[in-house]
Structure formats: C-alpha cells, structure tokens
C-alpha cells in the first residue's frame, strides 16, 4: 500500500522522555561485544572523566524505541513492520549524555520518496535529543518500505 505522503509528513510523534539507565547501557555493551570498561564499569568511566557510564554513539536510536509501542507510527501510516529495511542512519552530537540523564526525544518525518515505480518507499525521520533544553544529539533514519505487490 502506498504511503500517504501528507499524512506521513503531518504525523505527530509523542515525545519520548526517558532516563538512560546504567544497567541497560551495560547490557547494550554486552550485546555489542564492547570490551572497553568505560562503557561497563563506573570506576573506569569516572577515571576517563565521565560522571557515569556514557551513552554510546548509536544508542540514541534505542532510546527512541522506549515509547510504549515503538512501531505504532508505522501502523498508523499503514506500513507492515515485516516489510521494512533500515536504509541509512546518521548521528550528529552536541554534547555527551550519561547514565542517569533524562532525555527528551522529539521526532518527525521530514521526507517521503518513492523509488522503482512504488516498489520501494523511503521515509526519512529526524529525531532531536535534548537534556533539559540542552541539545545533545540529532539522529536521522531512512526507512525503506518494500511493496512487493507494486507494479504487478
């Protein structure tokens, strides 16, 4: 099913307000084979000048998934999560964040593009991360929606 471009661009995401949890960051380190103790050991993090375990560079993507139903916006736009591919991802940083920080993530869809006669649709979602009004990071995701029936 083709994505309604106007509906996508107008979609209002509820902001995600989430506290980066030390245990969760240690779990993320384990799951990604991280052996640098700065990301798992509070003493090592403090010795490296951090107030707590640092939020690693790609973890902002995960923080946005902390909304109660992280895929609800896809369902609202008629997109089947099983037909998704992650096309591109970028992060730009303004300041470091650490375990214990409460962060607000605000998202919107900024572009919808149709490729291959509708067989692929590309959604670009931009997310701003802030801590009490201070910008921390910006994340941009390009999501590829496969429409195998298009053009048949």
């Amino acid at each position: 099913m083709a994505i309604d471009v106007h509906k996508a661009l107008a979609y209002r995401f509820e902001p995600v307000v989430v506290t980066a949890e030390r245990g969760r960051l240690a779990f993320f380190a384990k799951a990604t084979g991280q052996s640098d103790p700065v990301y798992t050991d509070l003493d090592a993090a403090r010795a490296a000048g951090h107030p707590d375990l640092p939020v690693p560079p790609s973890f902002y993507f995960s923080l946005e998934l902390e909304r109660p139903d992280p895929f609800c916006w896809l369902a609202a736009l008629g997109i089947d999560v099983r037909q998704l591919l992650h096309g591109e991802q970028s992060f730009t940083y303004h300041a470091m964040a650490h375990a214990g920080d409460t962060l607000t993530l605000s998202s919107r869809i900024v572009d919808v593009a149709v490729k291959k006669g509708g067989a692929l649709e590309l959604l670009t979602k931009q997310t701003s991360v802030a801590r009490g009004g201070q910008p921390i990071a910006k994340a941009v995701s390009v999501i590829v929606v496969r429409n195998p029936e298009a053009g048949k």
Partner: protein, 133 residues
C-alpha cells in the same frame, strides 16, 4: 582531552573483527537495543516475509562501527557519522569493521567507514567526522 592519535590522510584505524553473529547475539541485541522487530529473532516471521532465515539488525553492525571509532578516539571526539546499510548481514556472519582517514582539515578528520563479511560482501558504508585537535 587525551588519547587522540596522530593521523593523516591515508591513516588506517585498527580494524575491529566482531565475534560471529549467533542467534543468541540477535536475541541479546533485540533486548538491549529495544528493537524487537521479530524479523531478526523469529524464524517463522522471517519465512512469512520471504526471507530464508533471520538476519542481523543493521544497528548491530553500526554499534560495531561505533566500537571501532571509540577504540580509536574518546567518544566526545566524534562529531557526526552516517552509514548506509548496503546489504543484509545473515546470521552466522562475522563482520569486520575498517576505517580510513580520507582527509584532515583544521583538525577535523573525515574517516571512511566500511563493514565487510568474509565473503567480500560490503554490508555498511559510511563516514565520520572526528575532532583530532
């Protein structure tokens, strides 16, 4: 700040060879990353979607690239980075992350990033801007 290596255009980052990705890796990463899309952890769903098996989250490979960068410089030196997911990473793959400095301008290094599988498949390409001042 400390731990910033001297680098010129053409410098290679020490490569990072990840462990082989098992189904356990994918289950742990689903939980730790919060990406519970069943296509990565449930064979029935993968089959329904026309895949012959589950495949790894793209963000798992991006996390490996993050390790490549933070093994090289302290994280606060990383200003921005972007990747394109070029190919699916199958379960049992063993990704290798590489980086090469392509330019250094006013202390800002542009690093070309690649993730490759042993059969030569390039799964991610991208670049990072790192403050080396």
């Amino acid at each position: 700040m400390t731990g910033v290596p001297h680098s010129d255009a053409g410098s290679e980052l020490p490569p990072l060879i990840a462990d082989q990705i098992s189904r356990t890796t994918l289950a742990l990463f689903a939980g730790a990353s919060g990406d519970h899309n069943p296509i990565h952890i449930d064979l029935d769903v993968a089959h329904f979607a026309g895949q012959h098996d589950v495949f790894a989250h793209g963000m798992l490979s991006m996390a490996y690239l993050g390790r490549l960068l933070t093994d090289w410089v302290p994280q606060e030196r990383l200003q921005s980075w972007r990747v394109r997911f070029a190919a699916i990473t199958p379960v049992h793959a063993r990704p290798t992350c590489t980086g090469r400095v392509v330019s250094v301008t006013d202390g800002l290094a542009t690093v070309e990033l690649t993730v490759t599988l042993p059969d030569g498949t390039v799964t991610l390409t991208g670049d990072a801007v790192v403050d080396l001042t």
